[in-house]
Amino acid sequence: MIAPRLRSLLLWIAVAAICVFCLLPFYWLINVSLKTGADLSNADLIPPSPSLDNYSSIFENNDFTSALRNSVIITTVTTALALIFGSFAAYALARLRFKFKFLILAVVLSISTFPPIAIAAPIFKLWTDIGIYNTYTGLIVPYLTFALPLAIYILASFFKEIPKELEEAALVDGATHFQAFRKVVLPLAAPGLVTAGLLTAFFVWNEFLLAVTLTSSPSAYTVPVAVANFTGSTEFEVPLGTISAASVIITIPLVALVIIFQKRIVAGMTAGAVKG
């Protein structure tokens, strides 16, 4: 047995190591974001003359703020739809009985593995013909397609863990399958929903290839596209300062989101404790 004191110490060392590992490059981003001009060429750990120029120049740029808005909308809608559609499909796969389940699961999984670069151009053409090029819908639909497999898979695993007896009890009490799903299974699978939701949100937020292919005006750009458009003063200059500042700005709401959802995880767990 490890002595409690030692155990605590090891834990704190582990925690410290995790923090350094996760935060050092992010600190570097903040560091670079506070540098301007010549300082960017140096590798000082602390900016010699910190300035908020990069931040102000970002917000002066209307495109960035509208890109932020677009990303938030697209991410939220895609995540919500992925959770809804995904939980339906996962429940059907995990609980209901019908033929070809394995085939469907295999197809669903395989869709998300096709290299996006090969289908970016065909989707562009198709979207242009249908008329949803450069729109929110034009991005939400492909994102849903790529996000659903992971969501379905995670949710199906969580649904499977929940004991059948609880649903059966509900069915005996006269509930339909769907009601059992809504009232019994979903609440218990809260951690799974949160996990699937967070993963979907992060995928959509980060996605660049389809975003840059399927949009062509600042009114529809998402954040990764806007960041790719950040300019130095010429075609060769890589504006590290502004890119870093933008990254810092983007991270803050995401972190806030995580903090909020965090509490949900805990709440979900204590609300519906699962007995083994």
Partner: protein, 423 residues
């Protein structure tokens, strides 16, 4: 209807539809290159969309505004593509392959012009060019030419320079490449763009062109890379690293890394584009550096490689005459002056370099025009990307010591020949 069956039918139908009409997509503007269309008249009216990379300084917007003000019947809109050249090209090609009419005027990198022209994606503007060919610096016109016709107007250009540290930390002005390497070895080294990408092709060709050789024959049908000149250049570059004149780090450098290293006082000599000048003037070495055109190599005058952007008209544009009007406006000396002074974009019109405002904004303007005049285009070919890949992968292997100069030259030749024979 059973959802599964529905899905299966949808997929089957989609596949059939795709198989049936798959060919139409890549037809481009017509049959062979002889069918290509030309635009000869310019009429400043209607809508024109200009698709070019990010307007980094606002200079593009200024040109657009000026044109719109001067021509109330016309309306030009700027559609900015991402800053990265790779992304610009991919997004342009995607539209061209889909025969989209969204972009009328395209900002085309000099190395893409022949590619697009060969696919009948551009309109022939030879007549319009002939009307004012004298105004342009001749070398810039070479980049817009393919199969004896002109497919674009030069818009801005670019040619490399040697930057060098003056004063105590520095070295003497380079008198030849060989001497510069030696001086670099005694001082803090010479750096350039040696990563495995297009920039390395440029750096390599600058030496090769100086030595008087090329990698592709005049008529574009044969690779000529298995030559003594190529071997000598490769050996020269490799020895530079071996002898310590050039730090090994250059194999990871693109334009920015070399600039940052130079500004941080880590190198005495640097090869880079003119853009680095203004940035270096803003840095800690502002008063201790200078630029010069390429010195001689192997006794021959130094040669540069042309960069820059051309303006072309999409073959699918619905307003070719309006597009031409806008392009002709953008290459007027007055507008070129704005590009030079506001955006430090080297002009393609010769007289612009003599204007006082330009001399002020670009103190080395005369040198710049000289550099552009002496520069040559990279191989003008529809398979340029593959040719470039053949060059930079083999030069990189030689720099790393993975291949001997002999082997690298042979492989380069074979790869280029393969590229020229691509279906």
């Amino acid at each position: 209807m059973n959802v599964l069956r529905l899905a299966a039918i949808l997929i089957a139908v989609a596949l059939l539809a795709v198989a049936g009409c798959g060919d139409d997509d890549d037809g481009g503007g017509g049959g062979g290159s002889s069918d290509s269309q030309a635009v000869t008249e310019s009429r400043a009216q209607g809508d024109v969309t200009w698709c070019i990379g990010k307007d980094t300084t606002g200079a593009f917007t200024t040109v657009v505004d000026n044109f719109n003000k001067a021509n109330p019947d016309a309306n030009v809109e700027l559609l900015e593509l991402p800053e990265s050249a790779d992304d610009q090209r991919r997004l342009q090609i995607q539209r061209l392959r889909a025969e989209s009419a969204q972009c009328d005027v395209l900002g085309v990198d000099v190395i893409w012009t022949a590619e697009y022209a060969a696919q009948n994606w551009l309109l022939d503007v030879s007549e319009a060019i002939e009307r004012q060919a004298d105004a342009f610096i001749p070398s810039t016109l070479e980049t817009a030419k393919y199969e004896d016709k002109y497919w674009a107007f030069p818009f801005n250009t670019n040619a490399g320079f040697i930057y060098w540290r003056t004063g105590q930390d520095g070295g003497p002005e380079p008198e030849s490449w060989e001497q510069m390497y030696q001086q670099a070895g005694d001082a803090d080294g010479f750096i350039y763009q040696g990563a495995r990408y297009e920039g390395l092709t440029v750096n390599f060709l600058e030496l090769l062109y100086s030595a008087g050789a090329t990698v592709v024959s005049e008529d574009g049908s044969e690779a000529t890379a298995d030559s003594d000149e190529v071997r000598n250049v490769l050996t020269f570059m490799r020895n530079g690293i071996d002898d310590g004149d050039v730090p090994k780090a250059v194999t990871t450098y693109m334009e920015e890394e070399s600039r940052r290293s130079f500004e941080a006082n880590r190198a005495t000599y640097m090869r880079n584009w003119p853009y680095a000048y203004a940035l270096a003037k803003d840095s800690q070495i502002a008063d201790s550096f200078d630029v010069t055109t390429f010195p001689p190599y192997e006794g021959n005058p130094g040669a540069g490689v042309l960069g820059g952007y051309n303006l072309a008209i999409s073959a699918f544009s619905e307003n070719p005459e309006g597009s031409l009007a806008f392009i002709e406006f953008a290459v007027e000396p007055g507008q070129q002056e704005i590009q030079a002074t506001e955006a430090s974009l080297p002009a393609v019109v010769s007289e612009v370099y003599d204007m006082p405002s330009v001399q002020k904004a670009l103190p080395f303007a005369t040198d710049l025009r000289d550099a552009v005049e002496q520069a040559q285009p990279r191989p003008v070919s529809p398979v340029y990307p593959q040719i470039s890949e053949a060059i930079y992968t083999n030069v990189y292997a030689a720099l790393q010591g993975d291949k001997s100069p002999d082997q690298a030259a042979q492989d380069m030749n074979a790869d280029i020949q393969d590229a020229l024979e691509t279906f």
